[in-house]
Every structure is written in C-alpha cells, then in structure tokens.
C-alpha cells in the first residue's frame, strides 16, 4: 500500500523536527504550516462542526508542542500528529454527547454478525457529479453519511475519506482490525444502498432472480466472516 511505503521513506519533517526540538519556534511553525490543512480537514470529517474542529486542531498542536521531546520518531511526525488529532477529536465527540455512544467493541458483538445484503442493485445511469449541481450532491452525501451509526461513520471517514490504514484506524478508535473491517463493510454497503436509491436507474434495476440462499447473512456466515478477518 502507498501509505505503508511512504512510512519507510525518510521523514521529510525530520530536519525541521530536530530544529524544533532544539528550541527553534520557526521550525515548529513550519511543521504546523505543513500539517494544519490536513489535520483541519481530518477533524472536520470526524466532528462535522467548525468550532469543534478548530478546537481539536489547536489542542492537537498544543499537545505536540508540549510533548515534542517525548516523540521518539518511531513513526513519521505526520503519523504521530494524526494519532494525537484522532484521539483528541474522539474525546471531543464523546464529551459533546450527553449520552456518549460507546465506540468499544464489547457492545456490538451481535450487531457485527449481521451484514445486510445489497437490495437496490442498479447501475448509475449518469455520472452523478455531472447530473446534479455540486451543492445538491453534497447535501445528498451529507444526508447519507449522517444517517449512519456513528461508529460506522467514523471508520468510513478515517479509512476511506482520510485514507488511514486499517491498523491505524483500529489504533485511533481503540478497536480490533477485524472490527474495523466489519464496520467498514457495513458503512460502505449502507452508503451504497442509500446512494443507489438516489442515483440508481430504476429502468436498469436488477432484481435478484439468482439464488442467494438466505436474504441476509445467517449467524454462521457472519461468524465465518469475523473469523476470516481475525485469521
């Protein structure tokens, strides 16, 4: 994968980091310049609120500033920052809710076993980005993603939008890689379903006449799915 190869290359930030560690604020500010846009977009994707995203980004850089000497450079500086930003944004998210949604895996043992089968299957007749005005498209995309359970939305955002690896996503969310994969599949299928209902060409809809066995995955298949991810 591109991301893992990128980590093996020398960290472009290393010279600036060394100077910042030696007390040079200009070098630290250079690193802030280099990463602030990415981290702001990252925080917006998770928090979906401008004020919270700003607070999370500021808090991330303050933590980085305070703990600069503790950073041992086992990972790239950018990866370290992303981890701090991920943890910070998730803390904000939990605080924001009076009744916080549990992101840990103990609560969704049963739910993870259920993988919805694609129902509305139809090719998208036109390129939806051209078919609709961009604003309208964005409203549809926002609506679909807002409708996802938060734990699925977060995995989709981190993995597919921000582009984090499965193991990084697992680390930031504090769940297993197997659960990241299952949640990602559920999120992708749910979004596909919603968008196909919007963009799918009814005239070209395919009704499933071929044998799918059961309509949804039974318990045994779901267990196999989890086992295959855990293997």
């Amino acid at each position: 994968m591109a991301a893992s190869n990128a980590e093996k290359k020398p960290d472009k930030d290393a010279p600036w980091l060394a100077r910042a560690k030696a007390g040079d604020f200009e070098a630290f500010e250079y690193l802030v310049n280099r990463h602030e846009k990415r981290l702001y977009a990252f925080a917006m994707h998770i928090l979906r609120n401008r004020e919270d995203a700003e607070d999370a980004v500021q808090s991330t850089f303050i933590k980085a500033l305070e703990h600069l000497q503790d950073f041992r450079e086992a990972a790239a500086f950018g990866t370290w920052l992303t981890r701090i930003a991920g943890n910070t944004a998730l803390t904000f998210l939990r605080k924001r809710k009076n009744n916080p949604v549990s992101l840990n895996e103990a609560t969704d043992e049963n739910e993870e076993g259920f993988i919805p089968h694609p129902d509305f299957i139809a090719d998208w007749s036109h390129d939806p980005a051209k078919k609709l005005e961009q604003d309208e498209l964005q409203t549809i995309l926002d609506g679909a993603i807002e409708a996802l359970p938060e734990k699925h939305r977060l995995v989709f955002m981190l993995r597919d939008v921000v582009g984090m690896r499965i193991d990084e996503t697992a680390k930031v969310l504090g769940i297993s890689a197997a659960n990241v994969k299952v949640r990602l599949l559920r999120a992708r299928l749910a979004l596909r379903e919603t968008l196909t209902r919007r963009f799918g060409d009814e005239a070209k809809r395919i009704f499933q006449t071929h044998d799918h066995g059961t309509e949804q995955m039974d318990k045994t298949s779901a267990q196999l799915l989890l086992q295959s991810y855990q293997a």
Binding site: M1, G23, F25, F28, E29, V32, E36, K37, Y40, A41, M44, H45, R50, A53, E54, V57, Q58, F61, I62, L65, E66, I115, H117, P118, I121, A122, D123, W124, P128, A129, L137, Q138, L141, I145, F156, D160, V161, G163, K181, L184, L185, R188, L189, L191, R192, L195, T196, G200, I206, Q208, H210, H212, G213, M217, S221, L224, L225, S228
Partner: protein, 82 residues
Amino acid sequence: MKCEDMLRMLNDYVDQEIDPAVCDQFEAHLEDCNPCQVVVDTIRKTIKLYKEGEVYEIPIAFRDRLHQTLRERWLQKNDNKT
C-alpha cells in the same frame, strides 16, 4: 464462489488487498454475475464520491489565532525552562 462469498471478500477486493488466488475466483464470479458487478462498481463510485466530495479549507482567521496561540505557548514553555 457464491454471491455471499463475494460479499465477504468485497472490502479486500475493492481495496486491492485480496489474495491473488481468491481474486481469480472473485473475478470469475463477477464475469457471470451482473448484480455483483453492479454492486462492486457502485461501491467503488460511492467511495470515490466521498473521497473527492468533501473539501474543508482551514479558515484564515482560525489559522492566525492558532499560530498566535502556539507562539505564546512556545514562549511560556521556554520561559519556564530557564
């Protein structure tokens, strides 16, 4: 390979992380199964739309505030050291 198996492998296939041997079976199934072809295609389009869709620009006023705050923190921290 049945459609259920295809669903199970969908992530790995779309992410190009599928075992090459399984990939051949997956693609053989796709060739004969139009619904699965459409599901794979629309899953890819879904991911692409979200990946390209939401662009958040950092607000300039916030950026200025951020840099000011960090400069103050930096000075504070270094003052405490001396």
